[in-house]
Point group: none
Amino acid sequence: MARVRSPEKRAAILDAAVYEIAASGLGAATAKIAQRAGIASGTLFTYFPTKEELLNELYLELKSEVYARMDASFPHRASLEQRVRHVWTSYLDWSIEFSKKRKVSVQLHVSDVITTETHRKATAMRGAIDTTLSELENRRSLEGLPAGLAMAMMGAMQDATIEFIARQPKQRRQIIEGAFDVFWRAMR
Amino acid sequence: MARVRSPEKRAAILDAAVYEIAASGLGAATAKIAQRAGIASGTLFTYFPTKEELLNELYLELKSEVYARMDASFPHRASLEQRVRHVWTSYLDWSIEFSKKRKVSVQLHVSDVITTETHRKATAMRGAIDTTLSELENRRSLEGLPAGLAMAMMGAMQDATIEFIARQPKQRRQIIEGAFDVFWRAMR
Amino acid sequence: MARVRSPEKRAAILDAAVYEIAASGLGAATAKIAQRAGIASGTLFTYFPTKEELLNELYLELKSEVYARMDASFPHRASLEQRVRHVWTSYLDWSIEFSKKRKVSVQLHVSDVITTETHRKATAMRGAIDTTLSELENRRSLEGLPAGLAMAMMGAMQDATIEFIARQPKQRRQIIEGAFDVFWRAMR
Amino acid sequence: MARVRSPEKRAAILDAAVYEIAASGLGAATAKIAQRAGIASGTLFTYFPTKEELLNELYLELKSEVYARMDASFPHRASLEQRVRHVWTSYLDWSIEFSKKRKVSVQLHVSDVITTETHRKATAMRGAIDTTLSELENRRSLEGLPAGLAMAMMGAMQDATIEFIARQPKQRRQIIEGAFDVFWRAMR
DNA sequence: GATGAATGAGGTTTCATTCAT
DNA sequence: TATGAATGAAACCTCATTCAT
């Protein structure tokens, strides 16, 4: 049996990628990523055959991390509002705690490197959230609007909110709550 | 120093940049942009000293184009709702008509090439919209929330809406109106 | 030090090398050769310490195969013409049957990887053929010409012939015979 | 008007390519070729878009050089034998004088980088030689053999001859003449 | 002995920018 | 001013070989 591919190294590469991409954009050099991950430049390619694949995997990793976070303490039996509020809050908390990760996630989302297949996989990862969000969409207030719009709007409104929290970190809790109220009003 | 000789060439370069960046991302080669603009590769640098400046100017150009569009038929004396609805609708119309421009605008916004100075200039361009939007923000419903959040939310919600229109172009009008209702409910 | 454990594996590597080199030239990756041979990339180097050695061994293997083929049914007691014709025909038959092997053999011959030592060994392998060919060279018609020229010319003329057979495979026998007549005329 | 692509540089690249390929095979680095040609590594690609194109152009250049050499003092009114002898001798002279060029030409010919299109162009370059060679092929002695075989055989026999001249350069003239006699006997 | 992950030099090609023409 | 050839620093990726397992 030869040396075995180490999950630690894989994780180190993805971590390094977040750091470098946050700093230099998607053009970040694979060599720099490898260096920061503490491996030889060529080694990166035993874990990800091309840069493109690395980026796609990174996207999935980031998405899965947020979803895991939301699922963790999900209040399955709470009221719809409570559940939606949980999604709202936990995503914003994650976004602020790991702002580089969020930044990279957005860059990837906007770019053309993420394949439809990857987008599909990412969507499939939404566990408890999906149930909650679709419950939300069935409300009268969103009648006649395309499925998925509620979720998309939530994401969009969260993204808008984040920038303001970044500028006034001390008012974090207040902004998060206040913005949720705005969102919730829209959904009623 | 970018002494501008022919406004036509300048415009041609910006147009070409939109096309190429929409196709290949911000990494689009200046040489390709020049070629598409029908000029020699070196000439581009007579109009824009560096690629970075080109991108910043492009961003301003795109922003100014949207704002001009909104200002054009702005219903200055209409009700607040009517005026906000105008902003909402005219932006979405522009986004759909010039989807490449919007795509590029988003890419630029997310990336790090746009300087704070450029962002400042872009903000300063909002004419009639600004008055309307700040009127909106002064409402009780947004009390306690940071200034600018309403505008940011509108932008974010529009971006979310656009993707759904792209997927169901025939329901365009209905989605635009429905989504506005959602937005307006949030603002009340 | 290439302690040979399994002759089957060794043979598999050489076979795989023929295939890959025929497809991609001498630049064929050792890893691909190993893969096709059904072994791990590192194992290849247990059998051949360097790629260069592999290529040299491969050259000898191919040469020895042709010579073995010629020796197999060699008409030791036939007339000189009959014996030479046997060499001519059996080489061409082999070349057509194993065209990849011939192609690789030529590539190796032309390149600089084959050492003089290997060339020497290859020459030493010519068994019955050598006797026949030197008999041919002693004829008056080749007087004053360097030793070995007859054999070289035969090889050259065969190589020229092969391409025509490849293009008109149905006339194979006729071309082989006709070309031999041309060659034989040259030798008389 | 910008700087103009200089034929001298193009020639320098091709010359450098001959030198480097003769030394290291077709794997010769484009950077090394550029360096030897006295230009920046990137400049090479303004003259030849890819290495493959460079190699194809190089092949044509070498072929055209030989053919030009043969055409130069071609004895159009001499006997067939005299004309064929001219082709024979002038090619061998060129091969010996520019042995690196010949070596590279052979490497290219054997490899797979030369496209069929290039081969076609190369064939089309044979001027006076073609007329003479086809006259040769119409002789009774080659009846029933594929068109082009005579020319191919001549090439092959010349190649065989060259190696012997390389080993005994002092007997050059004698070997050239002797080998031609052998060839001519084959053609009668 | 067999495996395949790890290495890092080296390969081709691209690109923003400069500058001779 | 306009041109596009020239530059050389990266960029991504491949590969022969080593060596821990």
